[in-house]
Amino acid sequence: MMKPIRVLVAKPGLDGHDRGAKVVARALRDAGFEVIYTGLRQPPERIAEVALQEDVDAIGLSLLSGAHNTIFPRLFAELHARELDDLLVFGGGVIPEGDVPGLKAMGVAEVFGPGTPTAAVIDFLKGRLAA
């Protein structure tokens, strides 16, 4: 049997909107992923540390507060400090399309906006990780 994909779903910053993060976490779990959910208000260093401890394959950040352009670079710096540069990082929430190219340039693999079916997230992760 294949080793299940381990995904960390995280809510960084101060944003309290966790409906999307919880729905995605649960859909991934139902689809056979091993899911760790951080809960609210996690600083990037803590998210990177949990990713290291839990040996995850991917990190999904949920952001609806507009802080994405600040938080993603800080997460990448923390991952780099832990030699986790290869981790797949994706995002979701309220993120204007105009910001997506910049996020992708810094290493965000995909950004899922409002209305994304959870199947799209599942297919994306399987496509990228179930080699």
């Binding site: 966790d18 802080a67 209305g115 959870t118």
Partner: protein, 551 residues
């Protein structure tokens, strides 16, 4: 609403019609997954008493509205939720909205402010001025309302965990304008329990949070009689994923906890209950939403009278603000949101709302631009002045469908409340994770319904088109954080440091004891002690809430 003899006569005819229709379904099938019954007749509206269950607007149980003439006299307050960047920029937006005919202010604070951090705190990085305005001290509060006479406008502030501190700053800002507390009108949201289950901007654990709420209740009841001391949040519970009956029930359970705490602290229910207000969502199912508002009014009146012995009719009235559902909006084909928002607003008005905020069409993508904010306000003005809906009180009252749905939602909400009572009330149910799990279950079910196509979302799971977002969205200048930090440093350099230290020491002393915190918070605000400093002292005394990470 029909006498029993008539109903008895009617029953066989209704049954015969149902049987014939069912028999023809093979030829004329119905669409799947329809939420309601096919047809409502007097049988569904039941033999209940018109006088006891429906009655008259302005009279118990207020099913048809809290005032006898509703919008025929005064229209609802049009109160758009607004705030971003610095106090100066938000002040300019408020003046614009007032000039466009808005009738009340509603302040959105940024997340650091909502969680009691100053703009220069490490936790605030990237968040300053993003989802609302940054208010670090009285200086920002003064700038926010510069040129807006606080004895002339009513101001609603979406602030919960540090609500007492922001109220103290508002009172101090009013003093600077020469306005006394007794002349102020407005609302603080001040509803901490829903933050633990739905909205996430908590600071302190439940017990000290309940004490802060009780302190504001006592202070407002005495000093600011026209102030709504709480706006109980049903909205956020629904937006987090619950259904309509849960929206009503979980918010009511929280309110019951506040009332019990205040009564235990020695307050007379009729002394503060008239100043309890509410915020509900208006979601997409128009008929269900209208029924929800009517059911909520009736159930609340009954609870206040029967459970708390409230005698003042104002204590029994459910007065509420409606904010149209943000989660109903889509980033796909955002112009479609204009239409969604319009009928959500209609549901709020048919449901008898006292004030209304309509979302802007671009809110699934970014903050509203000035143009989209104006269109959202115009939507309300169109309904008010051109649709005719404001000219009759409770126009859908007596429709069999609406009365039947009203009964159904009231009964379902009452059943949820009974379950929470059995768990020991809202605080215990939240600490045990019950309400969070119920909401998460409903949210997941709603998402599945969309993904299976059972629930159609136009432009998302049907009628989608290839599209790219246009570029015309409001972005907050990334330099706002730095500017706000400079203001803060300058303020700290020029204020009387000894006065600040003494005021903070007094806040700490009172927090450790049992006296009402409000006077010491107002005194601290006057010295330009910052929100972060004051909440830092309170964090030291009260501790911080540690949530679980269930999903």
């Amino acid at each position: 609403m029909t006498d029993t003899d008539t109903l008895l006569e009617l029953e066989p005819a209704v049954r015969a019609w149902e049987a014939e229709t069912e028999a023809a379904l093979a030829k004329r099938p119905e669409r799947a997954n329809l939420a309601f019954k096919r047809l409502y007749t007097p049988l569904d509206a039941g033999p209940g008493s018109y006088l006891d269950d429906v009655g008259f607007p302005g009279r118990y149980p207020f099913t048809r509205g809290v005032q006898p003439t509703m919008y025929r006299g005064r229209l609802w307050t049009m109160r758009q939720y607004s705030g971003f960047a610095t106090a100066e920029e938000s002040n300019a937006r408020y003046k614009y909205l007032l000039a466009q005919g808005q009738t009340g202010l509603s302040v959105a604070f940024d997340l650091p402010t909502q969680i009691g951090y100053d703009s220069d705190d490490a936790f605030a990085a990237g968040e300053v001025g993003k989802v609302g305005v940054a208010v670090d001290s009285l200086a920002d509060m003064e700038a926010l309302f510069e040129g807006i006479p606080l004895d002339k406008v009513s101001t609603s502030m979406t602030i919960n965990a540090p609500a007492a501190v922001l109220l103290a700053m508002y009172v101090a800002a009013a003093e600077r304008q020469g306005v006394k507390p007794g002349q102020l009108a407005g609302t603080i949201q001040n509803d901490i329990l829903k933050e633990y289950v739905a909205r996430g901007t908590y600071i302190f654990p439940p017990a000290p949070s309940m004490r802060l709420i009780t302190d504001t209740f006592a202070y407002c009841a005495k000093e600011i009689p026209r102030w709504n001391l709480i706006s109980v949040g049903a909205y956020h519970i629904r937006e987090a994923g619950s259904d309509a009956a849960q929206e009503v029930a979980f918010a009511f359970a929280n309110a019951i906890a506040y009332i019990e705490a205040a009564v235990t602290a020695g307050l007379d229910v009729d002394a503060f209950a008239p100043a309890i207000s509410w915020i509900f969502t208006a979601d997409l199912n128009l008929l269900e939403e209208v029924a929800k508002f009517r059911a909520a009014r009736r159930l609340w009146a009954r609870l206040m009278k029967e459970r708390f012995g409230a005698k003042n009719p104002k204590s029994q009235m459910l007065r509420f603000h409606v904010h149209t559902s943000g989660s109903a909006l889509t980033s796909q084909q955002p112009d479609n949101n204009v239409v969604r928002i319009a009928w959500q607003a209609i549901a709020a008005i048919l449901g008898g709302a006292q004030s209304l905020a309509t979302c802007a069409k671009d809110e699934a993508i970014a903050l509203p631009t000035e143009d989209s904010a104006r269109l959202a306000l115009r939507t309300q003005q169109l309904i008010a002045y051109e649709s005719g809906l404001a000219d009759v009180v409770d126009p859908l009252g007596g429709a069999w469908c609406i009365e039947a749905l009203t009964d159904k939602i009231e009964a379902a909400a009452a059943a949820h409340i009974a379950r929470i009572d059995a768990l020991g009330g809202a605080v215990a149910a939240i600490e045990g994770g019950y309400i969070q799990r119920e909401i998460a279950e409903s949210a997941f079910a709603r998402q599945r319904a969309v993904e299976t196509g059972e629930q159609v979302k136009v432009g998302v799971n049907r009628f989608a088109v290839e599209e790219t977002q246009g570029g015309d969205y409001l972005t907050v200048d990334p330099a706002v954080g730095a500017r706000q930090c400079e203001h803060l440093a300058a303020l700290k350099a020029r204020r009387d440091a000894a006065a600040v230290t003494a005021a903070l020491a007094e806040v700490e002393r009172v927090a450790k004891g049992g006296d009402n915190l409000m006077p010491s918070l107002i005194a601290a605000a006057r010295t330009y002690a910052t929100l972060g400093e004051i909440c830092g002292v309170l964090r030291g005394v009260f501790g911080e809430y540690q949530p679980s990470a269930e999903f």
